[in-house]
Amino acid sequence: MAEPQRARPKPTPETQHFWDGTKAGELHLQRCDACAHVYFPPRPFCPSCASRKVSIFKASGKGFLYSYVINHRPAAPGFTPPYAIAVVELAEGPRMMSNIIDCPQTPEALELDMKLEVAFEALDDKITLPVFRPAKG
């Protein structure tokens, strides 16, 4: 029997560009052309001023660890506990949920405000997830 799989996102017309971006190794955010608000998750209008004139841009991929839990039980399918579920604050402002790689999943190693950079983890040939690792240097 196959191993249970981690939950796999299914893009919608409004989010497809984000998943196209991660597949190409880029983290996409959106910026309002009218008020310059940067936002996430994706949608074709600005949640700050309601303008439909918005642009997609490649984010720096830099951020810091805003908060997290280290989940022990119950573990989600496809995960081996304990594993951290993190919220990363991006340099551009928005926050996103993610996982932290290349780092022990312990309170000692996972320090709030530690600098992070994006990495990409392919789930299959269609979906690549954005994850984060401690920033180098």
Partner: protein, 379 residues
């Protein structure tokens, strides 16, 4: 809305609470409803307004044989019932109906006749949260707490004391699921669920239900029970994605709903004799005390650790034992409301002497929604 124009005239929980393997979720709605109707001295045919969450109004109304002219199916998580109280009070005042029944029931433990909760893969949660390993409330609700602790200097011991104090209240309540005393060390040594939270900082998983009956304050004096008036109300929603909250230092839904209810009631914090803050997890009372304006967030942990919310303390909080020790079927808000009503009637197992004003504050989802009700027993 005007204060004290509508009153709770019927209130009851299901006959049993805890593990109920012999009833479906729908039957638990009916059991709570029939108990509340008996409590109010009414007949089912007297009910012309109905509200519930998760189950649809049509499902429960048909099962009970109720023919309503006003319904509310607001379903925003565990505080839905606070919102139902607010909406029902407005509807009664507007003349849309006269006597409203609000029911909650959940076969949260036995899972009989209960649809499993699922996150569609093409929802925003399914795309931007589920793939990172969130799996049920214990992996999601505590996500803000480390940031909250760092911002305000809250300690693990202070967060453990929340569970200890609530167990003290539960010990006074024969219907509480967990009554044995615990210490801060017990909490910090209980098994890890999702760091920083351990088993004793997470809510119970039980079966049960509850129901309320509301009518105009003018009619309320003719009912058998002491009326409990709706003095003030507030509600709001923020986001279904915990990762997308405006800040982890506070809940925007809380800071909207809470102050709205206080303003409507025209009360100050010193007027509050009794307080319920929905405690799905141990950080909720700290968020609530700060966001409702009782004190700066920095002081909330020490305030609880110092015993101010315990039996005999100056601000009795979660006096049934809370979701941590009394019961938690999944949508706990109804049980918080029931305890506020008992305290205002003067019949709670751990009664706060001479309590005249009770504030009942609920959360829905993971800080996704909020509802606040201020009750009083004086008109």
């Amino acid at each position: 809305m005007r204060s004290n124009q509508v009153a709770v005239v019927g209130a009851a929980e299901t006959t049993e609470l805890g593990v109920i393997p012999n009833a479906s979720q729908l039957q638990l709605h009916a059991d709570a409803a029939l108990n509340a109707i008996a409590d109010a001295g009414l007949k089912l045919s007297d009910i012309d307004g109905f509200a519930t969450a998760v189950e649809t109004p049509q499902q429960v109304c048909h099962y009970l044989g109720i023919k309503p002219t006003w319904v509310d199916g607001t379903s925003v998580g565990g505080c839905s019932f606070m919102l139902h109280v607010r909406h029902a009070a407005a509807a009664i005042e507007a003349g849309l109906c006269k006597t409203v029944l609000i029911t909650h029931a959940e076969s949260g433990k036995s899972m009989i006749g209960k649809a499993p909760r699922s996150i569609p893969a093409d929802s925003l949660q399914g795309q931007f949260e589920a793939p990172f390993g969130v799996y049920g409330p214990p992996s999601m609700f505590p996500i803000p707490v480390l940031r909250f602790m760092k911002t305000y200097g809250i300690t693990h011991e202070q967060l453990a004391s929340v569970a200890v104090v609530q167990r003290e209240w539960a010990a006074k309540n024969p219907r509480a699921m967990m009554k044995d005393p615990i210490t801060v060390a017990d909490v910090l040594n209980s098994r890890m669920i999702a760091y920083p939270f351990r088993l004793l900082q997470c809510c119970l998983v039980t079966d049960g239900g509850g129901a309320l009956i509301l009518t105009s304050a003018d009619r309320a004096k003719d009912f058998p029970r002491k009326p409990v008036y709706i003095m003030g109300t507030g509600e709001s929603v923020e986001t279904p994605m915990v990762s997308q909250m405006e800040t982890f230092n506070s809940s925007r839904a809380f800071t909207t709903a809470g102050p709205l209810a206080f303003r409507e009631a025209g009360i100050a914090h010193k007027d509050v004799d009794h307080l319920m803050i929905y405690d799905a997890f141990a950080h909720l009372p700290l968020f609530g005390l700060g966001d409702l304006g009782f004190m700066p967030h920095e002081e909330t942990g020490q305030f609880i650790a110092d015993g101010n919310t315990r039996p005999g303390g100056k601000l009795p909080l979660n006096t049934n034992g809370g979701g941590l020790s009394y019961m938690h079927s999944g949508m706990y808000g109804m049980y918080a409301l029931q305890e506020s009503v008992r305290q205002m009637r003067g019949i709670a197992p751990a009664q706060v002497p001479n309590a005249k004003i009770s504030v009942c504050h609920g959360v829905g989802g993971m800080f996704a929604a909020s509802g606040t009700i201020v009750f009083t027993n004086e008109r």
